[in-house]
């Protein structure tokens, strides 16, 4: 359990747990809920949840305040998150979902940037160690570096990166997003999978 999660002021505001009839107020309310769900899941490193879990979680159920967001309203919040690209249903019945505090495209971008930096650095580093002078010509140079999924999330080289420790489901979606942009290709490596950056 993560330490000292800071609840926003709305969490102690009883009407926050009633879907507001006024349209403008409701917009603000839903935005606040989306933000709260994402920061809560981020801090508690929760990447997936069932709707039943959600109902009883302190996230939607403030026991001290004696208020809980009713399940119909929870569904509305989840739908908002889905529209924004932060949520994906894991089954047809919409009973469990993947929650990504960063959208897959955003993760993809971060991972790709890291990938480019690393290979460039190590290639240039090698050349320099050979006594050659290196002058960078273009940013989008040859990449073609290959990493296993494990290396990306748990390797030494990614320690300190934001995506270190990322759950596999979200990582895959991030790489799929890169694949769509023709910046990467997901490949099989032995028993597991990996990615090749272009």
């Amino acid at each position: 359990m993560a330490m000292s999660f800071e609840w926003p002021w709305q969490y102690r505001f009883p009407p926050f747990f009633t879907l507001q009839p006024n349209v403008d107020t409701r917009q603000k309310q839903l935005a606040a809920w989306c933000s709260l769900v994402l920061s809560f899941c981020r801090l508690h490193k929760q990447s997936s949840m069932t709707v039943m879990e959600a109902q009883e979680s302190p996230l939607f159920n403030n026991v001290k305040l004696q208020r809980k967001l009713p399940v119909e309203s929870i569904q509305i919040v989840l739908e908002e998150l889905r529209k924004k690209g932060n949520l994906e249903w894991l089954d047809k019945n919409k009973s469990s979902f993947l929650i990504m505090w960063r959208r897959p495209e955003e993760w993809g971008k971060l991972i790709y940037q890291w990938g480019s930096r690393l290979s460039e650095r190590s290639f240039c580093g090698y050349l320099k160690s050979c006594g050659l002078v290196v002058r960078r010509v273009s940013r989008s140079g040859q990449n073609n570096s290959v990493f296993t999924l494990y290396e990306l999330t748990s390797g030494e080289d990614t320690e300190g990166e934001e995506f270190h420790g990322l759950d596999e489901a979200t990582l895959l979606r991030a790489l799929q997003a890169l694949q769509q942009e023709h910046k990467a290709e997901i490949i099989t490596l032995g028993d597991g999978r990996g990615v090749k950056f272009f």
Binding site: P15, Q20, N22, Q66
Partner: protein
């Protein structure tokens, strides 16, 4: 043709049967009443024993006091009933609320020129605590509400108006009551439409309206839901 059930004879028979059932019914009800009465007496005795054992606790502890009051209410005992008797003599609970009532009146009178006889329960609570000093017994918002209800029953012109999730205490004469309450309730609906108030459907009783502006001003980070809930009787 001979039709059954019609004719003077049949009617007389029916009446006799009815009378017999009625008598039996009365006998049954009496039995039940006697039984219930005995049980109630026993319960009352137990409650009295409990009260004398925990007299100190009842005087000192506001939460305990609330629970005790609820227990009494379920068997129709009002420990605040004025006059002599076990409750007022044994517990002095009546004295406690009587004194509190006097303090409430004092505070309201003192501030009436400023607030026109309307004061939020929270502010009243603060003022009463100030007036009681450090060594007095702790008083909760629930205690205030009970004392004010007693005052209302005595016809002193006090009113309790639900507003913004808490209560507004009115200490002006009864004739001016109605308009104010209606206006305040209309104002709540208007504020909701303007997007200035939020609706809360999970409060006990009717729908509550909350003003975020007031919420962040009046309530510091320290105030918990406990204290907010104490405002509800």
């Amino acid at each position: 043709m001979h039709r059954r059930g019609v004719g003077a004879g049949a009617i007389a028979k029916k009446k006799l049967a009815e009378a017999k059932y009625k008598e039996r019914g009365t006998v049954l009800a009496e039995d039940q009443l006697n039984q219930m009465s005995k049980q109630l007496d026993m319960f009352k005795t137990n409650l009295e024993e409990f009260a004398s054992k925990h007299k100190q606790e009842i005087r000192k502890n506001p939460e305990f006091r609330v629970q005790f009051q609820d227990m009494c209410a379920t068997i129709g005992v009002d420990p605040l009933a004025s006059g002599k008797g076990f409750w007022s003599e044994m517990l002095g609970v009546g004295d406690f609320y009587y004194e509190l009532g006097v303090q409430i009146i004092e505070v309201c009178l003192a501030l009436r020129h400023r607030n026109g006889g309307l004061i939020m329960l929270e502010e009243l609570h603060q003022q009463v605590l100030k007036g009681r000093g450090k060594f007095a017994q702790d008083v909760s918002q629930d205690d205030l509400i009970r004392a004010i209800k007693k005052l209302k029953a005595l016809g002193t012109g006090f009113g309790i108006i639900p507003v913004g999730g808490t209560y507004l205490i009115q200490s002006v004469p009864a004739e001016l009551n109605m308009d104010h309450t209606v206006v305040l309730q209309l104002a709540e609906e208007h504020l909701l439409k303007e997007g200035l108030a939020w609706l809360d459907l999970q409060a006990a009783g009717e729908a509550h309206y909350w003003l975020p502006a007031l919420f962040t001003d009046l309530y510091s980070q320290e105030i918990t839901a406990e204290e907010a809930r104490e405002a509800l009787p």
